[in-house]
């Protein structure tokens, strides 16, 4: 009798586990975030305080330091880094811009960086969405000095 009820219990919990929304996406460890130029553009927009149209938007994910050494270790010097976590970082320009003197036409790009001790090279890959492995066909490469 006990065995039977145990079996029934197991069976019920087995079936139950499948009926639950177990596949619902969890909250990411490295949460996604967005930056705009002009800063806080969406709030300015609904307050009618935006003095110029949206120029740029960046979608990225935010990993945490958690006591680790980041540059030179977790993010190795000389390697391509996705500037965040999860999906590749996306940058969109709503008009043609100049970065470090180089012209970047309006459009959506995947943004990567190659980090070294004194500078960061930013790679703008013409892209749409999602992760793409780096195969060094960057369209625009800009090296920016790191100053603190």
């Amino acid at each position: 009798m006990r065995k039977t009820s145990l079996l029934v219990c197991l069976l019920v919990s087995f079936l139950f586990s499948f009926s639950q929304p177990s596949k619902l996406p969890e909250v990411d460890k490295s949460p996604m975030d967005v930056s705009y130029y002009p800063n806080n553009y969406p709030i300015l927009k609904i307050q009618n305080k935006a003095t110029e149209p949206l120029v740029a938007r960046i979608l990225y994910s935010r990993p945490q330091k958690q006591g680790r050494k980041i540059f030179g270790e977790l993010v190795e010097y000389g390697n391509v880094w996705r500037l965040g976590a999860n999906e590749a970082t996306e940058i969109e320009f709503y008009k043609d811009v100049k970065i470090g003197g180089k012209k970047v036409p309006k459009g959506r790009y995947t943004l990567y960086a190659i980090v070294s001790v004194e500078s960061m090279s930013m790679l703008f890959e013409k892209s749409t969405t999602g992760i793409s492995l780096i195969i060094a066909w960057e369209q625009v490469k800009v090296t920016l000095p790191i100053t603190l």
Binding site: V27, K29, V34, Y41, K65, L74, N79, I131
Partner: protein, 209 residues
């Protein structure tokens, strides 16, 4: 999106971007500090992590992973960007989210939906492009609205820019869902139901391509 899977696969595929083993409580600020380096707390609006973290939904569901592994070379069919508020013991529908009042389907910015191919949403044809998606919830049905007022904060909707509406019934779930969740329930390679879940309410919006 299947970030769990990503978290498992990425350290293998991607050089050095290991996810931490320990799961922090969502968007909590890390408290552990380096022995030698003083870790600055978030100091401005630019560095504060959001209470309602942003997330992204794709159809096909694992699109970024499919793209990275070379299993697709085309665009996704659809992408949604939204933020995920939490229930935190509150009654959501008919309480925090009032009936008959437009709701941004999330938190912070308006929820954005982008169709990369012509779509059929609840029987109506939608052109490819980027839209704002919000809803007007009622007890037994939700009215979803596509709107063209892109890149706006979600507290106010410009109703002049409404484009289309879709009315769907809602269901009650047996368990309350803590985080507002949007996900795709795949029907076929070209057809899905967008599900919207929060508290004990579930709404389904059928989308096909």
């Amino acid at each position: 999106m299947k970030k769990n899977l990503l978290a498992v696969l990425l350290p293998v595929i991607f050089f050095s971007c290991k996810e931490p083993e320990k799961k922090p409580a969502g968007n909590d600020i890390p408290t552990k500090t380096d022995a030698t380096v003083k870790v600055l707390p978030p100091v401005s609006n630019y560095t504060n992590p959001d209470r309602s973290p942003m997330d992204m939904v794709y159809f096909p569901t694992d699109y970024p992973l499919l793209k990275m592994t070379g299993k697709t070379t085309t665009l996704p069919l659809m992408r949604i960007i939204y933020s995920r508020p939490q229930k935190q013991g509150r009654q959501i529908f008919g309480g925090l989210v009032q009936y008959d009042v437009p709701w941004r389907l999330g938190a912070n910015e308006s929820t954005e939906i982008e169709f990369f191919s012509p779509a059929t949403v609840a029987g109506k044809t939608v052109k490819p492009g980027r839209y704002i998606l919000y809803c007007i919830p009622q007890e037994t049905k939700w009215t979803f609205v596509l709107n063209s007022n892109l890149y706006s904060w979600g507290l106010e909707q410009n109703r002049q820019k409404d484009l289309m509406q879709f009315e769907v019934p809602v269901e009650k779930t047996s368990l309350a869902i803590e985080y507002f969740t949007i996900a795709c329930e795949k029907k076929s390679d070209k057809s899905t139901a967008l599900i919207f879940l929060w508290d004990d309410v579930k709404a389904k919006l059928p989308v096909s391509f």
